[in-house]
Symmetry: C2
Subunit: 419 residues, 2 copies
């Protein structure tokens, strides 16, 4: 007898997370004998806890196909971290109750490191509680910090957005720097690791060099040395573009700029390091500057998604279903790079025990000796992930992204759950 | 005997100003009997004053054709305003000396309102000084504030970038707002007029509504009323995207946020109103927020240029040359809208006396009664300017934009000029 599946999106969304949803739903629909309906948690796992489920079988195949080109989370996502089984036993019990009520046999959780951990716990506890489900994690994060997998879907598109933006703004500055702005600063995301900052380095190439200074969260900020670098770059090239990670910190480990408050995972919520750097540049050099903060634009810019990224996002969704049908549990489809030149990849399998709560850092040899740039090894790694375009449909001058009907599944439980 | 032409780019560059350069150079090359070489001022009029000219005849026709898809100013631009003829007589004299030395018969000045004024003065003084040149202005400005012409090349692409960015970021927020960010703020350019802010309104459509609050420079900022609007929008839709113009000011006329210093034209240099609005939202509502500052990205984003904008930018360049060959002087090719539905346009002719130093404001009836949104009339105006895509070539994941050789013209004068 076929069992139903539940899919949930977790954490910050990306330009291609819906391509993974597309891969999961389209693949599941090919195996109606094994997988009944695919439900989605409305706003992620919060929707499952509340028994607020979406019936994706109500969507046409055309609508599901169009998920491939739509950014953000089509079913809603959330920042909600289940704690340990001891601390959050009620929540885990509730999940199992909802799974049992809706005859769920498969759980596909689409997220980053935190959700990999949740996914693993669900597999374990569902077994213990006598209602075993196969729990598979589907990788997603612009931060590219998931281990085992060569890259995380979402990163390639964010990298393409950042590199393109730095290139275009730098050309703007190049044409004005004689009499106007000499220093352009772009703030990018990446709390603890410099993947997104490194992507800024891809704006520059041998055939089209751009004078860049990258401020990585991995390198303690040294004001004097930084200003020296800015001065020498402007002196040599007439301009400089600074790509600064939101996570840049001083020698004392304190972030250069932060807003108060923290998110549900206990991460400090950041923002505003670009104006801080601008202020330093102004005080110490007097150069005319401009600054931009990409914020959500960098993770939602589906209009400039990487085709490679879209294909990989789809593939990890598709493979998760195929692995589930193969009887796999507590695993994550991982992207395996089989060749650099030409870039080739395949889908492998990672055990969630190896993935959960492990953060992949930017390798030390990806940052050059100066500490302000990327190495050829880094370029070789990032370049193929940005490769190719995959434009969405436009209507009236703006992208025309699908909005699903998102019809609710009738509730079966007579209890509520406070989230 | 054919005379040479000089082309110069002025002021802040755009995603399509090089398409105008392409139109000028390609058209001039068709009439070698009337137009000899097309020189370009290196870094705009500063290059002409310094007799630092670029010989565009050294560029292949392939390179010139590729200007059509390259953002920023291929020959360099500048912020340098000539004052009145009385105050800047030396500079005008120098321009005429350079023109005479290089047998210039045509001057094409590609810029906004300030450069239209300069262009007009050059036509007048060259006549007075006994070396008459035909001076034609080629419209360009993301600010869309040039009079007579229905729109200014550069605006349509910036509008497309802004609308797309607001749409994509709003979808991101939509998928997270239940447990995370409810308020997204994007700061856009537009010192004194709300054209760019209005473009943010194009993110929303009947088929795809987005909860928006637009802060126009035309409407005095009222904190209490604004917060009420933010609250009611979040209450109704669960989220709000705020598009804020850098030029938003309070009832006392003071900008909400500004950096010190001013540019060469005496404009106050702005930036940083997004964090100011974020702070107000936080203090008064406690809603979780994120903010972005588009800055140069919005005017250099050639990767998402409007096809209509590119076509019009090319057409005004092409027409300027044809008008010059027709003997016109002190004029500017203007875009004339001949029909709204379907959108149709042609090139007309504007007298520089009508263009110089006149700023076209956002019409009052383009802002809706609430003061926080745009009207259907505004939508009808902006929509066709954003219509169509015109993607650049990509290589290795990023746009591959032409870099010209920009070979210098041998100097003929033995005097220098301090700029």
């Amino acid at each position: 007898m076929s069992k139903n599946a539940i899919y949930a999106q977790s954490g910050g969304v990306t330009a291609v997370i819906n391509a993974s949803a597309c891969g999961i739903i389209e693949t599941a629909r090919k195996y109606p004998d094994q997988i009944g309906k695919v439900y989605a948690g409305r706003n992620g796992i919060v929707g499952i806890l509340k028994e607020d489920l979406i019936d994706t079988s109500e969507e046409s195949s055309e609508s599901i196909a169009r998920l491939r080109t739509a950014p953000s989370g089509a079913f809603g996502s959330c920042r909600y971290k289940l704690k340990s089984i001891q601390e959050s036993r009620d929540a885990y019990q509730r999940l199992i109750d909802v799974f049992a009520a809706h005859e769920i046999g498969y759980f596909f959780y689409n997220g980053g490191g935190d959700s990999a951990d949740t996914c693993l716990k669900i597999a374990q506890i569902s077994e213990q509680m006598g209602y075993p489900v196969q729990a598979l994690h589907v990788p997603k994060t612009v931060d590219n910090d998931l281990p085992v997998t060569d890259s995380s879907p979402g990163f390639g598109s964010a990298a393409k957005y950042i590199a393109t933006s730095v290139l275009e703004a730098s050309l703007d500055v190049a044409s004005m720097s004689l009499t106007s702005t000499k220093v352009f600063i772009l703030e990018v995301m990446g709390r603890h690791s410099g993947w997104m900052a490194a992507a800024g380095g891809m704006a520059s190439s041998q055939s089209h060099p751009i004078p860049l200074v990258i401020l990585f969260p991995e390198i303690a900020f040294d004001r004097e040395q930084f200003i020296q670098r800015v001065r020498s770059t402007v002196s040599e090239h007439g301009q400089v573009s600074i790509v600064v990670s939101e996570g840049v910190a001083g020698k004392d480990g304190r972030f250069l700029a932060g807003q108060d408050g923290s998110d549900a995972f206990g991460h400090q919520q950041l923002g505003g390091v670009a104006p801080t750097i601008a202020c330093i540049v102004k005080q110490d050099t007097g150069f005319k500057y401009h600054w931009a903060v990409a914020d959500y634009l960098q993770r939602s810019a589906r209009h400039i998604a990487s085709r490679t990224d879209v294909e990989q996002a789809y593939a990890v969704g598709e493979s998760a279903v195929l692995m589930a049908l193969d009887g796999e549990n507590s695993v994550m489809p991982a992207i395996v790079r089989t060749s650099d030149h030409p870039y080739q990849w395949k889908i492998g399998k990672a055990s969630l025990a190896e993935v959960a709560n492990v953060e992949k850092k930017l390798p030390g040899h990806f940052i050059d000796e100066s500490g302000y740039g990327i190495t050829q090894a880094c370029r070789d790694y990032i370049a193929p992930l940005m490769e190719g375009e995959d434009y969405p449909e436009f209507r009236n001058g703006v992208p025309h992204y699908i909005r699903l009907v998102n019809k609710s599944v009738p509730r079966k439980l007579d209890t509520d759950f406070e989230v």
